[in-house]
């Protein structure tokens, strides 16, 4: 197994390099927000991701699909450096947000995570009130000047997450007392409250019932007006329903990436084809 060097491509090459992933053609390219080149990830000695290169376009939903253990979550976590918090995890290659390397030592990962928000598989509200759940991010980042400022942020975030009408009378009750779907929307509101530029979602509906799932999917569709969204899902149906672009991972490789409709109808790669038609998984 070859050992990773932290930077295998000099900075200057980043924009000159094209993503080499097999891709289905794309007619109307949107501006790129996140650019990854040759990203490899190691857990201790074990390599979980192999030279992944991808461009994530602005104000759209990009879905990562693939069989279990193929590295979807791992790659997603690279995008806001949540991998830093995992013991023994090393990342090589380059990832840039708006053109600047997010693994640059001068960049504070805490600041990065305020710009790239994250929503997790299982809804994980803090064991605090609904208000405090949403207000926490703005508070630690010093985003609100005053009490009323904060109230405004909380309200607008909850509104954007489509939760306001359901909780406005009980903002000071515990966030953990909500139903699963509401909790997940609360987590989305919490992420929105720090006005991130990108929102990462790792299987956000897998713990929810079909009705709550539908509600979240609608919400994602609305959010993409304002945010760049990356979503990991194990359900091809969901990817088809919510995303504009889809990336298919397999055994740590990004096999293919392109507009969702094309990926599902005419993939370039045989493996993608097999997966989509249920040969495995």
């Amino acid at each position: 197994m070859h050992m990773p060097t932290d930077k295998i491509v000099p900075q200057s090459d980043l924009y000159s390099r094209e993503s080499t992933t097999a891709r289905t053609p794309d007619e109307n390219p949107l501006p790129v927000r996140v650019k990854a080149r040759d990203v490899s990830v190691f857990y201790g000695q074990k390599q979980a991701l192999f030279d992944v290169s991808i461009d994530v376009p602005e104000k759209s939903v990009t879905a990562f699909i693939g069989p279990s253990g193929c590295g979807k979550s791992t790659f997603l976590r690279c995008l806001n450096r949540m991998n830093d918090t995992i013991e023994g995890c090393r990342v090589s290659g380059l990832i840039a947000l708006d053109g600047s390397d997010i693994y640059d030592p001068s960049l504070d990962p805490v600041e990065l995570r305020a710009r790239v928000g994250m929503v997790f598989q299982k809804p994980n509200p803090f064991p605090k009130s609904i208000y405090e759940n949403v207000a926490y991010g703005p508070r630690i980042h010093g985003l609100a000047r005053s009490r009323s400022d904060m109230d405004a942020i909380v309200e607008s975030s909850l509104q954007k997450a489509g939760l306001w009408s359901e909780v406005k009378d009980r903002l000071h009750e515990a966030g953990t007392g909500l139903s699963g779907g509401q909790q997940q929307r609360l987590c989305i509101a919490r992420a929105i409250a720090v006005s991130p530029e990108v929102i990462l979602m790792d299987e956000p509906c897998s713990a929810l019932d079909p009705i709550a799932t539908a509600r979240i999917e609608e919400l994602i569709d609305e959010l993409r007006q304002n945010y760049t969204i990356v979503i990991v899902t194990h359900s091809m149906q969901q990817a088809a329903r919510v995303s504009q672009r889809t990336a298919f991972f397999h055994l740590g490789n990004l096999v293919e990436e392109g507009p969702t409709d094309l990926i599902f109808t005419s993939p370039v790669e045989k493996r993608t084809q097999d997966y989509i038609t249920g040969r495995y998984g």
Binding site: N80, M82, T85, E87, V110, E111, L112, R113, A114, G117, M118, V119, F120, K122, N124, P125, F126, P127, Y136, G137, I140, H141, A174, T176, C187, R190, A191, A193, V194
Partner: protein, 457 residues
């Protein structure tokens, strides 16, 4: 289209029928073994519960009688013929405060010098006018400390001179033993502690109601006493234990929680943290007596902290309790779902913020319980305290953690070794009841708080 049930074909049954027969043949024995095993489990539980029951009932049985003690209520005449002291000094204008204090102290000394035993003796004799009794025997009925009570009454109110008041006096330990039957009543005089006349008089007082058993509140308000064993109490030891617990709480909780936080949340996995971990686990099991040796060598000999001081006891117990708190806090931290940490990190909280804003608060119930349990353990620890001089005789209630004092378990140890076995055997059990009561209370508080905190989540 309906499925009809058809039994499996005959041939197919053959093999499996043979197999079933074999399985069935063994079933009886297997179930019997199952029942035996289960009975063993029940027996073990019964044994364990039985021990609890026996222990508690024995101690209650032995200790409860000690909570009542005989009291003698008699008329005390402050006879001017015995109480021969000048009037209490009054402060005159030119006198400085210090001079006045001096004069007052002199007067008090004179009051102390009064032969109060004579007053006691007269009162007892007056209570049974027709009874012939010698001075020594008469005085042996009431506790020797009662003479200081009369003095204190007089100092507080010199107007008592010449007056007669009813006073309830504590019977002596020997009289109490006699009246409770703690000492064999049929023994000959030579083997009795009280003289025959004192015994008869005590019985007589008991019959005519001047002597009565009453609840011994002084167990809770007095300190230990050697000269007046019947008046010995737990207050000093209790306060000493309280100070030690305070020291433990103030030191062990923050240090313990902080090191747990470091080890669980921040520490990289390397040889050094591994070493700390092994070290802490080991400390949790180091015998308490070794901590006593440490305390004697480090705090007493090296740092020259005072002997018998609750502060030193508290420090030793802190070191003992630390591992308990660290281990419990760590397991509480480990139980916090990683999703909570991810949630905070995911919106840009730093590691420190994540831990202190979200993770730690969730573990409060666990830390609290661990603290109370650790403190309760420390409260009951005896052996190390013996090595740092906490087994001293202290007649005063300590005013600060630096003043000498005893501790509850040490007091139990001292009392169980007291030479007046007849009296102190019950008294020791009574002290144990108090200590166990305290323990149970602490545990109940832990359970209660835990339940409340967890409900709030």
């Amino acid at each position: 289209m309906a499925h009809s049930f058809t039994p499996p074909s005959e041939q197919a049954l053959d093999g499996s029928a043979e197999r079933l027969k074999r399985i069935r043949a063994g079933l009886g024995k297997r179930h019997a073994r199952e029942r035996r095993f289960r009975a063993l489990g029940i027996a073990a539980i019964a044994a364990a519960l039985g021990f609890v029951a026996i222990l508690f009932s024995m101690i209650l049985y032995q200790g409860l009688p000690a909570f009542t003690q005989a009291n003698l209520e008699v008329d005390v005449h402050f006879d001017p013929a015995i109480v021969k002291v000048a009037a209490r000094p009054v402060r005159d204008a030119q006198q400085s405060s210090a001079e006045y204090q001096r004069a007052l102290l002199d007067w008090e000394r004179k009051v102390t010098m009064v032969n109060w035993n004579r007053v006691l003796e007269q009162s007892i004799k007056a209570a049974a006018p027709d009874f012939e009794i010698d001075t020594k025997s008469a005085l042996s009925i009431v506790e020797t400390s009662e003479r200081f009570r009369l003095r204190d009454m007089f100092v507080a109110d010199p107007g008592l001179l010449g007056q007669t008041v009813k006073v309830k006096m504590l019977a002596s330990a020997n009289a109490d033993n006699w009246l409770k039957g703690n000492i064999d009543r049929s023994l000959p005089d030579t083997q009795q502690q009280l003289s025959p006349s004192a015994r008869m008089l005590s019985d007589r007082f008991m019959e005519d109601g001047q002597m009565r058993f009453a609840f011994a509140w002084h167990i809770f308000t007095n300190s230990d006493s050697r000269s007046a064993p019947a008046s010995a109490g737990l207050a000093g030891a209790f306060i000493g234990s309280l100070y030690m617990m305070l020291v433990v709480i103030v030191l062990a909780v923050p240090i313990g929680v902080m090191s747990a936080v470091y080890l669980e949340e921040f520490a990289p996995k390397n040889k050094f943290t591994d070493f700390i971990e092994v070290n802490i686990n080991n400390l949790a099991a180091v015998p308490s007596i070794v901590f006593g040796l440490l305390g004697a060598a480090v705090f007493i000999n090296y740092f020259r902290l005072p002997l018998s001081a609750p502060l030193v006891g508290g420090l030793v117990l802190t070191l003992m309790t630390l591992p308990t708190i660290i281990i419990a806090t760590r397991s509480a931290l480990r139980a916090v779902p990683p999703s909570l940490r991810q949630a905070a990190l995911g919106i840009g909280a730093s590691k420190t913020q994540t831990v202190f804003h979200h993770v730690l608060p969730v573990t409060y119930p666990g830390i609290l319980t661990a603290t109370i349990i650790g403190v309760a353990q420390a409260l009951g620890e005896t052996a190390p305290l013996l090595l740092i001089g906490m087994n001293a005789f202290v007649a005063q209630i300590p005013g600060s953690p630096l003043e000498p004092s005893s501790a509850l378990p040490v007091q139990i140890y001292l009392w169980q070794g007291n030479e007046n076995r007849n009296f102190f055997e019950a008294r020791t059990s009574a002290a144990i009841i108090v200590l166990l009561g305290l323990m149970l209370m602490l545990n109940a508080i832990a359970i209660f708080l835990r339940a409340r905190l967890e409900r709030r989540k």
